[in-house]
């Protein structure tokens, strides 16, 4: 967690929930856990405000609470820092659901995101009353809701344990994994009753079951898209389709978020043993891929050359797929670690190309291929004149894209300068982290700039909004066209011009926000798969 990320989170929370929540979250961000009174004293807000802010954050699953170690009656709150950036991805989540389940799914997702977490009945009632497609029946809504649960896009929040004897003040939750994706029973009759005002949401049976969107499932989809796109760009559409099937089969047996190459320490006969767990997915055999493709794909070329396409993906330098055996026509594993290392490198390289020029990118790649290299060899290998190569390499070093390792020659004594070799190298993890911080800062800048543009032209924007609503009501009342036109004209052409300019700016900024998030997502995936840093992705949070 960096200061840049803290700034970004703060700005995001302010945008979504307002100043009070921002202050509480800022206070939590800087500490592991805080108690209510600690938050109150450090934020100087009233107890009631803080409680409300915490309730909002808990509802949106941004804050956890647990009994304190010292006092079991005292809850301690902690912020889920990694999840805050998900607030930014709401539009992407909705877009994904829209493409998978149509507008019904999109409105369900929207309501879920708006309320943070809610019961099934309440969500469906909201959809039915506010939804744009009111013509859809409640049944359709329920079916899609169920489908989204079985596809793991919606997840149940752990249920509250309600004990008869309330001996503990802090509520506890029931976490049973098998229970997370069991569709609830939704009373359709009750839904219509609520709609017509005969009953209220409180009457529903499922008030204990609270649902929300399963971000990780969405992220899995995004991640697959990134990988598929990379395969498509490099090896063509058919290979991408083939890879899509491979991923699908892989998920049958492998946890999609399995972190790669972790070591476990176990004691066997009082001796410490280090066991490396599997570094990649479980195997997928050629036979399985073939079956799946023959069943579901209509792509004749892919079927004809399936073995070749698989060989192509396996041989490619991206290293997405690895052959591990010959059983069943060939066993393959998906190597997420290699995959995201390659992709992160590609990302870093294009950033360098844009920022320092293609020659610098060449230098970066030379260092990457050679692992360690001296300045002089570097310029020879890259075929760049000595002076230019030196300045580029030093620039890259200054901006922390590359690093230097110094190897001191032993001896030398006290006399004369100590001999040392200065070797350039790339510390991928550090570079990615640095770049991620730049991304956070850039995102923060976008938000700040866009807020500034809005506040700077606040009067104008408000005026145009007022005007729009006036014109709207006048049209409803059926006033004459001339009169309406006269009202519209109170908005002068120069004002109009400025407004359009501001609108254009804000649009550009929000578009940049989305594309920037792509980069952030990619780099976060690298961190998840290639490092042991906490990334907020964990099974069933």
């Amino acid at each position: 967690m960096s200061a840049d990320y803290a700034d970004l989170c703060s700005a995001l929370l302010e945008q979504c929930f307002g100043k009070v929540v921002q202050a509480v979250a800022d206070c939590l961000f800087s500490a592991n856990t805080r108690t209510l009174s600690q938050i109150v004293s450090s934020t100087k807000l009233s107890r009631k405000e803080v409680t409300l802010a915490l309730a909002v954050l808990i509802k949106f699953r941004l804050v956890n609470f647990e009994p304190s170690m010292i006092n079991a009656y005292l809850p301690e709150y902690s912020l889920k820092r990694e999840d805050i950036i998900c607030l930014l991805r709401y539009s992407r989540y909705i877009h994904l659901v829209q493409s998978k389940y149509g507008s019904i799914g999109a409105s369900i997702a929207e309501e879920l995101l708006n309320s943070g977490s809610d019961t099934a009945t309440s969500i469906l009632v909201k959809c039915l009353t506010n939804g744009e497609n009111k013509s859809e029946t409640a049944e359709n809504y329920r079916d899609i809701f169920h489908k989204m649960i079985t596809d793991h896009y919606i997840i149940k929040t752990p249920e509250l344990i309600t004990n008869e004897d309330q001996d503990e003040l802090i509520p506890k939750f029931l976490t049973t994994e098998c229970d997370f994706f069991v569709p609830p029973i939704i009373d359709l009759q009750l839904l219509t009753k609520i709609q017509s005002g005969e009953a209220s949401v409180e009457n529903a049976q499922d008030s204990a079951m609270v649902w929300n969107l399963n971000y990780d499932r969405f992220h899995q989809e995004f991640r697959d898209d990134v990988m598929k796109l990379a395969v498509e760009r490099k090896l063509g559409e058919n290979a991408a389709e083939c890879f899509r099937f491979i991923l699908k089969i892989m998920y049958n047996t492998t946890d999609p978020w399995q972190r790669v190459s972790f070591l476990t320490y176990i004691f066997v006969h009082k001796r410490l043993m280090i066991v490396a767990l599997q570094r990649a997915s479980n195997q997928v055999t050629f036979g399985e891929i073939k079956q799946a493709i023959e069943k579901k794909s209509k792509n004749l070329d892919l079927m004809k050359h399936l073995d070749q396409y698989i060989a192509l993906i396996t041989d490619d330098s991206l290293g997405f797929l690895r052959k591990v055996g010959d059983m069943g026509g060939g066993q393959y594993v998906v190597d997420m670690e290699r995959a995201f290392e390659s992709l992160a490198f590609a990302c870093v390289e294009s950033v360098i190309t844009e920022r320092f020029g293609s020659k610098a990118a060449r230098i970066f790649r030379v260092i990457r291929f050679k692992k360690f290299i001296e300045q002089e060899d570097l310029q020879k290998e890259a075929m760049i004149p000595a002076k230019e190569a030196k300045s580029l390499a030093y620039n890259l070093f200054q901006e922390q894209f590359i690093h230097v390792r110094v190897i001191k020659k032993a001896g030398g004594g006290g006399s004369g300068p100590a001999k040392a070799f200065y070797l350039f190298q790339i510390k991928t993890k550090d570079t990615v982290r640095m770049l991620l911080d730049v991304c956070y800062k850039a995102l923060y800048n976008i938000i700040r700039r866009s807020n500034y543009e809005k506040s700077e032209h606040k009067g104008l924007i408000e005026k145009s909004q007022r005007l729009d609503s006036i014109v709207e009501t006048m049209k409803e009342r059926g006033e004459s066209e001339d009169y309406i036109a006269e009202i519209v004209e109170t908005f002068t052409p120069p004002e109009c011009e400025i407004l359009n300019k501001v609108k254009h700016r804000i649009k550009t900024l929000s578009k940049a926000e989305l594309t920037l998030d792509d980069t952030i997502f990619l780099l976060q995936m690298y961190q998840h798969h290639c490092t042991m840093l906490p990334t907020g992705i964990q099974k069933f949070k």
């Binding site: 590609a346 002089e376 290998e381 730049v438 800062k441 850039a442 700039r449 594309t515």
Partner: protein
């Protein structure tokens, strides 16, 4: 008398290719007194017919190749001979004046004079090294300087020819891409496509030679270095063949331009200084302003 002894000694020394020790000479010419032998060896040394080497504690006399016998004129003095032989040892890599001074144990002014002398006689020449522009190295006049000194085809005098390398780089890439395009048109399955889009260094060499853009003669090694730069530019891939040779093929980048560089912050040179306060902020950022308008 002395010349005869010298001839005798020389024939014995020539008979032993690894060089003769004192014991060998003793054995072969047991009737010769030590004083005479020393006299004869001295003559030989003066004439340059043999050289003395030290192996452990023992001295070894070795015959010099008569063909390699120095091209020095007869009137050259001892210092000139020494310097000449040191330069000769340097081969086509050349030798630095400082090393000559250390080896010959001559003082700077004298050495300079001798070197100048030898240069005017066209016995040795000075070559500027590309690695360090101020560093002059000396080598025999008839030798062609090593690549490490001249830098090979990429250097005109001491200057690296950037444009030449860039043009070659572009042409190589163009060739690889052309090959890929022609392979794409034939629809023989993905593996065949991959194989067809691969080029060996030989193919590229032929293409570049036919193109006639280079006045300098480029060999395959030169083109290999150029092809490597294409790989380092991320536009091509280097694939190891089963026979140990490498082939090259043009590839696409796996990612589109990342979102970060589509906005000014991604390429901002002062992003490090950017914060809420101070001169560099998101609000009064000129880059941001240019981008938004």
């Amino acid at each position: 008398m002395a010349a005869e002894i010298a001839q005798l000694l020389l024939s014995v020394i020539q008979g032993i290719p690894g060089g003769a020790t004192n014991d060998d000479l003793n054995k072969a010419l047991s009737d010769m007194p030590a004083a005479t032998r020393v006299e004869g060896l001295n003559i030989l040394l003066q004439q340059g017919g043999i050289e003395v080497l030290k192996k452990g504690e023992k001295l070894i006399y070795r015959a010099k190749d008569p063909q390699k016998k120095s091209a020095l004129p007869k009137d050259a003095d001892n210092e000139e001979k020494v310097v000449y032989s040191i330069v000769e040892e340097g081969g086509n890599k050349g030798i630095w004046i400082r090393d000559i001074r250390i080896k010959s144990n001559l003082n700077m002014t004298q050495l300079n004079k001798i070197l100048k002398n030898l240069e005017t006689k066209k016995l040795i020449k000075a070559v500027k090294s590309v690695n360090a522009s101020k560093k002059k190295v000396y080598m025999l006049y008839n030798l062609e300087a090593d690549r490490s000194v001249t830098g090979g085809a990429w250097y005109q005098d001491q200057d690296f020819e950037v444009e030449f390398v860039d043009v070659l780089n572009q042409q190589c890439l163009r060739f690889l891409q052309m090959k890929r395009e022609t392979a794409e048109k034939k629809r023989d399955g993905p593996l065949a496509f991959k194989q067809m889009s691969c080029c060996s260094v030989k193919d590229v060499h032929k293409f570049i030679s036919d193109l006639g853009i280079s006045k300098v003669n480029l060999d395959e090694d030169d083109l290999e270095t150029i092809l490597k730069t294409v790989v380092y530019d991320g536009n091509a891939e280097r694939i190891l063949q089963s026979d140990g040779a490498y082939v090259y093929r043009a590839v696409n980048m796996p990612l589109p331009a990342p979102g970060l560089v589509q906005m000014p912050c991604g390429i901002c040179p002062v992003i490090k200084n950017c914060s809420d306060c101070g001169d560099v902020t998101a609000i009064n950022c000129q880059y941001m302003k240019d981008w938004l308008d």
